[in-house]
Every structure is written in C-alpha cells, then in structure tokens.
Subunit: 238 residues, 6 copies
Amino acid sequence: MRPSGRDVSEMRPISIETNVTKHAEGSCLIKIGDTHVLCTASLEARVPPFLRNSGLGWVTAEYGMLPRSTGSRMRREATAGKQGGRTVEIQRLIGRSLRAGVDRVAMGERQITVDCDVIQADGGTRCAAITGGWVALRLAVNKLMKAGDIISDPLTDHVAAVSCGVYAGQPVLDLDYPEDSDAGVDGNFVLTGAGKMIEVQMSAEGSTYSRDQMNTLLDLAEKGISELVVAQKQATES
Amino acid sequence: MRPSGRDVSEMRPISIETNVTKHAEGSCLIKIGDTHVLCTASLEARVPPFLRNSGLGWVTAEYGMLPRSTGSRMRREATAGKQGGRTVEIQRLIGRSLRAGVDRVAMGERQITVDCDVIQADGGTRCAAITGGWVALRLAVNKLMKAGDIISDPLTDHVAAVSCGVYAGQPVLDLDYPEDSDAGVDGNFVLTGAGKMIEVQMSAEGSTYSRDQMNTLLDLAEKGISELVVAQKQATES
Amino acid sequence: MRPSGRDVSEMRPISIETNVTKHAEGSCLIKIGDTHVLCTASLEARVPPFLRNSGLGWVTAEYGMLPRSTGSRMRREATAGKQGGRTVEIQRLIGRSLRAGVDRVAMGERQITVDCDVIQADGGTRCAAITGGWVALRLAVNKLMKAGDIISDPLTDHVAAVSCGVYAGQPVLDLDYPEDSDAGVDGNFVLTGAGKMIEVQMSAEGSTYSRDQMNTLLDLAEKGISELVVAQKQATES
Amino acid sequence: MRPSGRDVSEMRPISIETNVTKHAEGSCLIKIGDTHVLCTASLEARVPPFLRNSGLGWVTAEYGMLPRSTGSRMRREATAGKQGGRTVEIQRLIGRSLRAGVDRVAMGERQITVDCDVIQADGGTRCAAITGGWVALRLAVNKLMKAGDIISDPLTDHVAAVSCGVYAGQPVLDLDYPEDSDAGVDGNFVLTGAGKMIEVQMSAEGSTYSRDQMNTLLDLAEKGISELVVAQKQATES
Amino acid sequence: MRPSGRDVSEMRPISIETNVTKHAEGSCLIKIGDTHVLCTASLEARVPPFLRNSGLGWVTAEYGMLPRSTGSRMRREATAGKQGGRTVEIQRLIGRSLRAGVDRVAMGERQITVDCDVIQADGGTRCAAITGGWVALRLAVNKLMKAGDIISDPLTDHVAAVSCGVYAGQPVLDLDYPEDSDAGVDGNFVLTGAGKMIEVQMSAEGSTYSRDQMNTLLDLAEKGISELVVAQKQATES
Amino acid sequence: MRPSGRDVSEMRPISIETNVTKHAEGSCLIKIGDTHVLCTASLEARVPPFLRNSGLGWVTAEYGMLPRSTGSRMRREATAGKQGGRTVEIQRLIGRSLRAGVDRVAMGERQITVDCDVIQADGGTRCAAITGGWVALRLAVNKLMKAGDIISDPLTDHVAAVSCGVYAGQPVLDLDYPEDSDAGVDGNFVLTGAGKMIEVQMSAEGSTYSRDQMNTLLDLAEKGISELVVAQKQATES
C-alpha cells in the first residue's frame, strides 16, 4: 500500500548519533529513514534586546537545506539573497516548539541557538529537525549543568515531532517524500514526552478533513512520538 | 472576566462592507471588532510558471499591515527591504486556506491574487483576512461567471477562520489583542461552510495543552465560524 | 472638454474624515474625487541621530500604494525588496513640504512620522497625501498641546497641494488619472494657507512650456489651494 | 557678499572637455567651478520592454557620486545595497529633462543611457549632470548620424540646467556648496536653448517664498542657461 | 614545534568517503584532520547563457559554511542576505581550479555544479573543498560515461589543493586552524596529478616573503598534493 | 607579436597625476596605457570595531568601475543591489596588499580608506589600483606627518603591482585587455620597493603551467615593478 511497504502506523528507522561536531556545545545527526538532519546547539552569553535584564533565557532556531539535499538541486538561499517563505515558517516553528519545553527562568539570561541543516531530504525534515534539535539542546544544557553554570534543569520535558497524513485515502504515520507529495491532508504534531501538545498544524491543500480524521491522525502521532522519545532517551542518557 | 466583557463564546461584532474600491474585481472591508482589514481580489490572465498549460487556476494571497495599524508604529516592510517572517507565514496560510475551497479545474487557467491589508489591528488579523479574503474572491468569481468567462462555479464552499485560545485559564472564542498577548495557548481554525476542516494551527508559547482543551477550542471555533459564514452570505448574496 | 465634465478651474469633490484609526495620534481619510489616501501621524519620542540634543523637532513622511489601489495590480514594494524611485521621490516631497510649515524649535525634540497610504488612486495622490498629511499632523499636534506637552503652536500655517497641467492644450486644475496620463506638462504646487509657495515642480515629459503657461497654472493652483485650506479648516476646527 | 566673491548673477567658470573616454559613444567632463561630472552616453540596440515594436527610442540616465567626491567620505551605494532616495530622484530628473529635447520617432527604436558620475562635488551636481549629459548625448547622436543610422536629427534643442536660490536674503545664480547649505529657498531650472521651460523645481526647506521671488530666480536662471548653452555649442560644434 | 606535533612536511590524516548522499550524481565527505567538507556534484542539462549553442560544457562551484562549523557560531549567510566576500572569493577559486582539469569540448553542452559545504572547520577548508570537489566531479562524470552520455573522458587529470605557510619562522605543510591564525605568510596551491600548476595564491598579511621562501613552500606543496592524489585515486578507482 | 607592438618585457606608458581632487587627504589619477584609475585616500578617526582600543591603525580599500569604463556598458553595481564577486575579490586584494607595507602601530588608531574607481579600463585595473592606491595612501600619510599627528613614518616600503601572463605561447609583461582576454595563464604580482613579495596570484583558466614558466613570469614582474616604483617616487617625492 505504502510505497515503502511500511504499515500505516510504522515509523521509518530512527537513528540519532550525538556529538558529531567538535565545536558545538551540543550536536547530533538525526536520521529518520533517508531524511538526515545535522543539529547543533550554540550557547551565547547575550540574549536578544527585548530580554536584556529580564533574567530570562531564550532558545531560537535556524533551518537550512544544503543545495543538493533534494532530488534536483535547489538554489542556495545565500545566493538568492534571502531565506524563502518555507524556511522562515519552519524555523519559527522549531524555535517555538523547543521553547515550549524550557523553563526560561531556570535557564538564566543566556541564549541557545539550534541550527538544523538538512543533509539529505526525504520528507519530514521539519519534524526531524525538532526531534534532533531537542537532543542538541539537551546536550548543551547538560554541559552547562555539569559546569555548574545552571543549577536546576531548565528542560521540563522531551519535545519531539512527527508528521501524519492521509495518503491514498488512508491515515498514515511518518510520511516520506513520495507520500508527502501525494497527500491531500497532512499535519505536523509536536508533543512533549508526557504526551501534552505543543503545536498541531494540520493543512489540507485543495481538500478538507473531518474531526474524526483529525483524531485518527492524532492517535498515530502519539504512537510515533513515543518511539521518538525513546530514541532521544537512548541518545542522551547513555 | 474578558477585558471586553464578552462571554467566553461570544464573537466581536462582525461587519463586511463590499465593493469598497472601484478598481478591484472583488473587494470588501471586513471589521471584526476593532480589527479592520481591506481585502481585494485581482484577476490576472497569467498563472505561475509551474501551472502553464495545465488547465488549472491559481489563488494566491499577500498580506500587509499599514505602519500605524498597531498601537506603536511598525517599520514599513518596503523600507526594511523584505517581508518579515510573520508576514510570510500569514500570507502562505491565507493562500492555502482559500485554495482549499476552490475547484481549480472549473476556475480555468487564470490567477486571482487576494491582497489583505490591515488598516487597524486588534488581534485576529489573519483570521479576518481569510474570512474577508473569501468574500473578495467570491465577488470576483461572481463577476467572471456573470460575464460567462466561467461556466460552473469554482468555489466549492465558504472558507472562514477564527482564533480561539486559553485566556486566564478559560477557553475563549475570538481573541482580541489584550487576550492574545496573554494567552498561553492559541489556535487559528480555518473551516468550510459545511464545517469541514481546512487548517488547524494550535500553538503553545512557553506552555502545553491537552487533547481535551483542543477539543473545547474546536467546539468554540465551530460556533464562531458558523456566525462568520452567515455574515459572508449576507455580504455576498444581497 | 475634460473627461469628467468639470470646468477647467474646478476641483474634484473634497472630503476629509478625521480620526479614522484608533491607534494614531492624528489621522484622516482624505478623498479628492476617487483618489483616497489614509494619512496617520505617529508621535515618537526619539529624533534622528543628526538632531540629538539639538532641541529641534522633526517631521518626516512615508508613502505607499496598496497593490490594488490602481487599475491593474501593482507589485507590493515589500516583496520587491525596496521602495521604487517614484515612491522615494514622493515621500521626500511630502516630508519637505510639511516641514516648511513647522516651527521646529516650538515643536521640541520629538519626531512625528506621517504615513500616507493610497487606498484608491485616480491621479494626484501626492497632493492628496500632503493635504491630508497636514490634517493628521495638525490633529497630533493638537493632542500634544491639549496635554500641555507643547506650549506654543509649532504649526505656522496650513500646507496644502494641488496639481495642474496642460490637458488637450488647455490649462486645467486638479488633474485626474485620465488627464494626468495625457498631459504633456504637469505640475505640483505646494502652498501655505497664506498663499506663500513651498514647492513648485513643473515637468514636461517630451514637451516644453513657456513662462506664460507657468503663470496660468500657478493662478489655477492658488484657487485650488484656497479651497483645500477651507476643507482642512472644517476638518480640524470642528 | 557671496563666499566666492561672485556677483549675484555670475556663473562659476564653465569648462566642457569632450571625448574623455575611448569606449563611450559620447562623453565629456564638465566642470562648473569645483563641481566636476563625467558624463558618458552609451548606445544600446534594445529598448525597455514597454517600447518594443513601438518604433520609438528611449533616453535614460543614471547618476552616482564617487565616495570621496565630497568633503567627508560617503558610503559607496554598491556596498549599501541600493541607491539612496536622493540619487534616484536626481537620475529620474536627468532622464526626464534630456527626453524633453528628443524627438523619439526620429531617434528610432534604440536606447541611449547617459551616465553622470560626480568626480568632485561643490554644489549643483544635478544641473552639471544635465548640462554635460546633453553634450554626451549630442556627441553620441552625431556619431549615429555620421554613420547614416539616423537620417533626421532627433535632438530638437539644447537642454541645460542651473540652480538659483535665496542666499543671505539675496537671490543668486548658480549656488556653490557653501551657499547651497545655507539657502532657505533653492531651485533647479531646466530650460531649452530657446528658453522654453522643461522642469522647474523650487523648494523651501523650513521656509517659504513669494511669486515675486520665484520670478527673480527665473530671470537669473535664464541668464545662466544662455551661458551654458554657449559652452555646449563650443564643445560640440568645433 | 607545531601545535599538533606534526613534522613540518607532514599532512594531517586524509579520509575520503564517497557516495554519501543518495540524490547527487557524485558526492564525498572529505576529512583532512578535523576539517570536514561535504562535496556534491549536480548535473544539469542547461549551461549558462554565454555558452548556449557553443558545444562547450561548464563546471562551477559554490561554497558555504554551516553556522556552527566554527569555534564560535557564524551568522548564516542566508539571513545576512548575501554571501560574504570571503565566500565569493573561495567559490570562484574552486570553480576555476576544477575547470582547469576539464576538457570542455569532450564534456559536451552540460553543466556540473559542485557544492562544497563545510561541516566542521579546522583550517584549509578551501583546499579540502577543491580536493573533495574533484572526487565528486569524477564520480558524476563516471556516471555519465557509464550511461554512454559522454564518450571520451573530459577529465584530463586530477586536481588537488593544499595550503602551506610560514609558521613560527618555519615553512610548514597543510596548516591547521591554530597555525593558520598565526602564519604571517600563507599560500594555497592547486596542482594537477602530473604536478602542473593551476593556481598559486601566496599572501602576506602584514608581512612579506622572499622568492626562496616561495620555492620552499612550493616544494612542500608538491609533496602534499602527491599524497592527496593517492587518496583521490583510492576513493574513486575502487 | 603583441597587439600593441610592445616588447615582451615592455610596460605600457605610466603616468601618475597627484592631488586630482580637492576633498581627499591623498589622491592620484594613475594611467597605465589606456587603463585609468582614480585613487583617493580618506582619513577617518574611527577604526573598525575589532580594533577599538588596540592602538593599531587600519587600511582598507574599495574598488569600483564606472558603468562605461568598459567596451560595452556594465550594469551599475548600486542598481544591481550588491557588489559582484569579482569586485569583492579585487578590493580585498588591494586592502591586503597595502596593509603589507604599513606599520600599524606607528599609524596609530585611525583608518585610511583607499577608493579605487576605474574611469577607463584596458586590462590590469587591479594592479593599477594597487600602485595608484599606494600613492594616494603615501600622500595622505605625508599630510598626517606634516601636521605632526604621526611621528614615525608608518609606510615601511613602496607597494606596487603588475600582471604578467602567457600570451600566444610567450610570457609577457603588463597584459592589456586584448592580451588578457586571450591569455591561458595570467598572474598578478604585488611586490615591495625592495623586491619582497606580498602577494602572488597565478591562475590558469582551462590550462596549466610549469614551475619554469612561473619563474619567468616572476622575473618579468620584478622588472615591471621596479619601473612602477620609480614612477611612484617621481609622483610623491617632488
């Protein structure tokens, strides 16, 4: 049924390799099937102007795709002179999602920038970026705590994301690129480790969906997220 | 409870004035309380390159805020040299939402651009833009049909949008600016006249929400949308 | 003779509605026939760097056209990535004109930004912007004086503007769009309430004019300005 | 009285050296006192899209200042990423002025771009650019006529420009930089060889002027233009 | 003597992993010590306009650094709105170097774009990019030849690059970041497999060098290049 | 043999006219044959942020070409919205070269910006810019020393540059445009008055070269530089 032969509720293989770059305070290479995203967390002493002297920390994110991460070469955004609309939308989502799992008082007045760069794309890059971005963030915070710079853990829970959609009339978990291109309805679901919701974005392009379908997709998402959280734990707690 | 004294499930006053500009093929000034958005629909013969010779039509949207539509003056995006991330995200949402109610085969190979310019902002500008944008689109399509350029109606249903959120611990309908600034959870809901869902975006900033809360907000949204659709009908069917 | 049937020295109907937006310190919607411009005056505490600690105030202006204010849709300048040459030239003219009627010492070290956004265009938008911009400025200054922030009135006189040109060989007052497109010679005249001149710009595109013709156009302009000043008074002194 | 010791109606020394660069179809270095502008005319076969197949020619202009043409170094516009408002306004004026002296039918469907680059600035650069730009244009057209590419002369008359203003209460001709910085009223006058007017721009910055003063300045301008036209003739007719 | 303990003529460990991304026609991850660069070669049917219908092929290159490839996070060029001067200079060098080893007639009218993205930087990124870029190019060309799209091999020889410099008064091979930051003289040498020179760039920052020193650095470079070419062969001929 | 009839080791005529603009602290117009570059040195009190309170000075350079300095008109970079890759590469080279001859401690915490604007191009503009840029720098420093602002001379030696290349199989000195367009190998050599090397850039476009050829070009370059230094001395020591 599915081009990959997967069950409707079957995730692609998940792999999270940590500490893949020597400079970043936290980093991982997350692979969700053929979607590979390099996530780094960079610690900076300064916060944005609107937070100066507030005592609050900030987590922000940036997202990019290497020009040949895709089937045909995309124009490099640096030569186009600006980030495209899709890029901006995605990196705002990543930042907002990660901040939902952060106690910004406990974090103290510092900023962590999470960069998510897609090395190879096969659908679901924004979800992989959130899931891997959290791992990079976790590792950077661990370093701050080990150094005694932060006393109480500012990360309140895991944050992970998965996409679901209606493909060939069938609700399915974790869309890959061939499915994503064909799905009339698809959604991105960002949840905490405890199953609380941070962000739900369900869109129909040239189509609509019912509340029942929405609930089915949500059930699938909860299953996928729980598997992603297990992988995050294995990656960060070893 | 609410700063405006409204009931939790009470919309702000809705007003839709049509044909407010003599040049556009369709136009309206929509007022949702103190949020005022001018929506125009412009018909163009050409479609974007990826649709040439496809026989399909295209509906796209652009969004802007006048510099003093807000409490303190915002920098004009034309002088900043680019549209900000929020603007891009909103106009992509408007276009996607309107296209969900369009039969692009029936529309034929033409493009309609819906411009939504915020004259005065008091929360919920993107929802007002979608609701008013549909009215402008409806009027432009009416003109095409009256002229015999289109035979069967390409608009398959109404499209309208409303925001809901959790304010002071209470789920409420149609957030105004003071509520929006304080809501830990807020969502934008785009539905058809028949109550089918086109887009749901529920975000928590520095917070999370449960599936129960999500369902309560959805119930409120359905109530609000039905009132907006009545207003759309009154505006376009007279 | 004139497409609109007007006399050579007849202005289009003038309407100035004040306080049209709740956020701006001063605002009006000015209509000169089918040309409609929304003018807002925004008060800011800071002055540009070159005036810091000078004790002098500053008045500046920005101008924009909504994409479908015109017969065919214009590209939004925010997506083009910059303001076009015509826009820049016009907003410099508006700022310079308004400053000519301001005592910048009496104003004190504050800045007022006048935004002029064209809702509907039918010729003469820059002149309507100056005339309406002065009304918005007057209302903002009134508010400062009522609050006791300014003691003596910094506005030394009315400032208003009108276009004249040679259409079909005939000097005419207040060109509308069909006339403007065809006029070989046209001018913009900015005068004070007392009839003193602030700015005269007379251009021939592919043509020339004599000193006699210039004087005839000036006579027409003086007549038009006096009517505009009456309308300004009615709008601001009620 | 005047910082330079000149009479109120005395121009600065005028020098026009032609054919100063080997590549351009027409070129000159014009010196009005210490204001030095290099003007080149470049012939191109193509016209802008709006003129294709119209049979009409086009003359356009661009203007620039070298970074150290001024008393203190200005930022290079190429590094700022765009032309400033003043630059755009000036180059539009130059193009409009030169076109007023061109019979675009006789010119045929070709474009001439006049580049005016200020080598050294001491006030009046836009007027020097128009006067010198006409010389470059004349030389390029001569070349076309000599080659038989154009039969009848498309240049209908000389075009020259001069500034006048009220300095220290006194109307004076041809403002240099110290005068220009201090003048409350100043104007740029573009006339033909026959004394017909092409463009008049008279501005008051923080001041106003009467019709009498305007006429006095115009008289001065006519005197200055006639001297500039003599210099143009000497440069191009030898 | 050297911070890494290497001999003056000792390269860092070289590793070239091929076919690291499933989309690109050719790809490798080259590691020169802690400098890691991902190189992809993308085949495109079109050539730049200046080569249309010339029968000649084109090889071009783009270069980028991930924001946290460096010790402290660098601003992403896509958000800065343009590629910096250093980036532009490097990617022009890579393209020029690779083209020197290409028979553009044999290649036929097609373009190969080599993207070099620095995953981790520790000095010598441009040299690693050239050396790895050639491997990606070789693999993409192999694919074209296997498919019979190209008959005779357009790659005339290997192309590889290495940096040398004077560190602590001592000429050394293959500068790493700590050496590069301190070297008064450093050079990049691009050679073919046969030892012919393609590009030599030797710069002194705040210093100078003699012809003797230049010759010593060239000797070192020749040694390094021969080791890099062995590694290229092992990577592409297996 | 050479299009110009010059000997293989013959420079074009060299002319350096100093103090050509009244505003710059130092300036010259350098002509190497038909290549004419205007060089100005501008003194500024501030240094770039990375040097504040370091006690060190800074010399930087910018480069530009007038639109019609070339055979066919080039687009003005200010209208293109950015400096092209070639421009950026050249101005970085000029700055680096000039700094190699500066004792930045003796210079004190001030900045000199050298602008090199090409008035007419016929090959070798970057070398002319370096050679002329040094003259402008020398004159500006002389002024500082005469005024007593600097005690000991911060210029440690002359800096000059020349290009050499292989044209029609023959190594030649000082390539003009026809030669440069055809040369398979060409190099730019920046040397001090004492013959020490600052920068060597030798590139082959679609070709390679041997070490012997490199040495021959270097010999030619040394001869050319010595003649340029004589011209610099005549220009600055009179």
